[in-house]
């Protein structure tokens, strides 16, 4: 089982790399170098804050866009091109192994991409700050949360890919990402409502993925420490949420006729 999962995951990663997904790194490098030079003219402290905000937001957004655009095709493209026939028809591969392998492969791609971006990002921070201090360890927490975002959005894109077309899947995925970014506000609005509306809004607010809780970019840019409890809770939240979404994907995919 592990061997099959690994093979499917590695193939997904290899496909993304050979489809030149990592070319976004060039754009990211240009962005970071450009902003370092541009904001280097302003005061050191502001420059650092802007660079951290810009760099981490870019790592997050580049990854989210890649996760959605590749994620929505992970299953539907395989069905359209019939490439999964030779995998599922005559290999001892279970459908859940296929889904999980694809998921792990895309998460691996996004992680490698984010880590390469992070190297450039830290180099830029070192350049503008003339070195790295203990406080910069917080940046690693923000990057870890970004990776957790990728896990969530990949699971959601994959879920949509199991039952919808790529166009609708991308709309759903971007919409849910946008709504999830304001999950905390939604919960606030729900508290202000009354009766059944309140219950419904609260239910909806807790159902959408809470991307807001995973965004600590502004916090770390201002050198505010992230509580270890939040790291633990966010990790647990993402693991449980992604597992639930993957289970739903498998449930749908197990029942699909692959015509």
């Amino acid at each position: 089982m592990i061997g099959r999962l690994g093979a499917i995951a590695f193939n997904t990663y290899r496909e993304a790399v050979r489809d030149r997904v990592l070319y976004n790194l060039i754009l990211f490098a240009l962005l970071i170098v450009g902003s370092s030079v541009l904001f280097g003219q302003i005061s050191l402290e502001i420059n650092r804050i802007v660079l951290i905000n810009l760099g981490l937001t870019a790592i997050s957004l580049f990854g989210i866009v890649i996760a959605i655009f590749i994620g929505i095709g992970l299953v539907s493209k395989e069905i359209d091109k019939k490439t999964l026939y030779t995998v599922l028809a005559a290999r001892p591969v279970r459908r859940w192994e296929f889904i999980t392998g694809k998921f792990l492969g895309l998460v691996m791609t996004l992680t490698v991409n984010a880590l390469l971006m992070s190297v450039g990002f830290f180099a830029a921070v070192m350049y503008v700050s003339h070195g790295l201090g203990r406080g910069d360890l917080q940046l690693l927490t923000a990057i870890y949360f970004i990776l957790l975002e990728f896990v969530l959005i990949t699971a959601l894109a994959l879920l949509f890919s199991t039952f919808s077309t790529p166009v609708f899947s991308s709309i759903f995925a971007f919409a849910i990402f946008a709504v999830g970014t304001f999950a905390e506000d939604l919960r606030g609005f729900a508290q202000m409502a009354n009766g059944a509306t309140r219950w419904l809004m609260t239910g909806a607010a807790y159902l959408v993925p809470n991307f807001a809780a995973l965004n600590v970019i502004s916090q770390v840019a201002h050198n505010t420490a992230v509580e270890p409890k939040l790291i633990l809770l966010n990790t647990l939240y993402v693991v449980v949420y992604a597992a639930a979404v993957l289970t739903a994907s498998v449930w749908i995919f197990e029942r699909r006729n692959l015509k």
């Binding site: 099959r4 026939y85 030779t86 599922l88 028809a89 005559a90 290999r91 001892p92 006729n257 015509k259």
Partner: protein, 312 residues
């Protein structure tokens, strides 16, 4: 033991906006393929050949009936280790080279790491692709993809090989090579089940065939036995056009070139026809039984021609 045992397997699809209409992809099908056989599944487009294969391979789920493959239930995934499958018009991960693709499939099939390279190289060699193993599949022609498709179906040394239109997209030489390969695989003891439109290939290769049309089994059996059902004509050639009217009344279809007449007639009328020829003092040149082809049987069974309308 039967390699494939199908009992009343059927498939209907819900169609219409509300899914309230049923379209039958396959009527209840009962069929068995013995181990070591080359079995052909024939039928026009939409006959249910691919649906049958997909049902057997778990890609679509039956709405009724059961099937066993190599003695295992359809849902038993472990049996897939022993199955090879070539889909119709195969499309593979085109970012991979043929070597990488076969290695990937061999891994998924559970081939031991120490055996993998040898098996991959052997499968590529068997389809004549050893020199192109390091080229990405996106640069392959349709015929080359078909060969790689066959290689992936046999890379893990399966006991049962299912081929959906294996000759599709191949030139005459390629078709000949695939025919030879199928025979070679069969000589190694593998069971081959393939679907095709190309009846001459089926006739050359198959021990038995099944004819499907519109999701329904129209006939199944040993090729020679099936051909007997639609054969029964003879070709008679003689000199002497004066005998034509008499033989025409016996059901002969006559064609005269000068004084030489060539006629096709039912075998049962032969004795009477020879008597007529003697009576009219015509000189008999030859009497040849006309061999029916699988195409004749096929056309007869799918209702586009009546039995005994045999190709000359």
């Amino acid at each position: 033991m039967a390699a494939i045992e199908i009992q009343g397997l059927e498939k209907s699809y819900k169609t219409g906006f509300f899914g309230n209409k049923l379209k039958r992809g396959l009527m209840p099908l009962t069929l068995s393929v013995e181990e070591g056989e080359v079995f052909g599944c024939l039928g026009p487009n939409g006959a249910g050949k691919t649906t049958t294969l997909k049902l057997l391979l778990g890609l679509v789920f039956p709405t009724g009936g059961t099937a066993r493959i190599l003695g295992h239930d359809l849902n038993d995934i472990s049996v897939k280790r022993f199955i090879g499958f070539l889909p119709e018009q195969p499309y593979f991960y085109d970012h991979l080279t043929a070597l990488e693709l076969l290695d990937y499939y061999a891994r998924l099939s559970g081939v031991e790491p120490r055996e993998r390279k040898r098996k991959v190289d052997r499968a590529l060699a068997r389809v004549g692709m050893s020199d192109s193993g390091k080229t990405q599949l996106r640069k392959y022609s349709k015929g080359m993809l078909q060969r790689v498709g066959i290689a992936q179906a046999i890379v893990h040394d399966p006991k049962l090989v299912l081929l959906d239109e294996p000759m599709s997209g191949l030139d005459p030489i390629g078709r000949r090579e695939v025919r030879d390969l199928v025979q070679e695989l069969n000589e190694e003891g593998k069971t081959i089940f393939f679907s095709t439109h190309i009846l001459s290939d089926a006739e050359t290769l198959c021990d038995r065939v099944a004819v499907l049309n519109k999701g329904e089994l129209k006939g199944v059996g040993v090729v020679a036995d099936l051909l007997r059902e639609v054969s029964g004509e003879v070709e008679v050639v003689w000199n002497g056009a004066q005998a034509i009217p008499a033989l025409s009344t016996l059901g002969a279809r006559c064609h005269a070139t000068g004084d030489v007449v060539r006629a096709l007639m039912p075998e049962r009328s032969l004795e009477a026809a020879l008597a007529e020829l003697r009576k009219s003092e015509a000189r008999l040149t030859s009497v040849t039984p006309v061999r029916a082809t699988l195409e004749d049987y096929f056309l007869a069974r799918i209702g586009e021609a009546k039995p005994n309308e045999v190709h000359a």
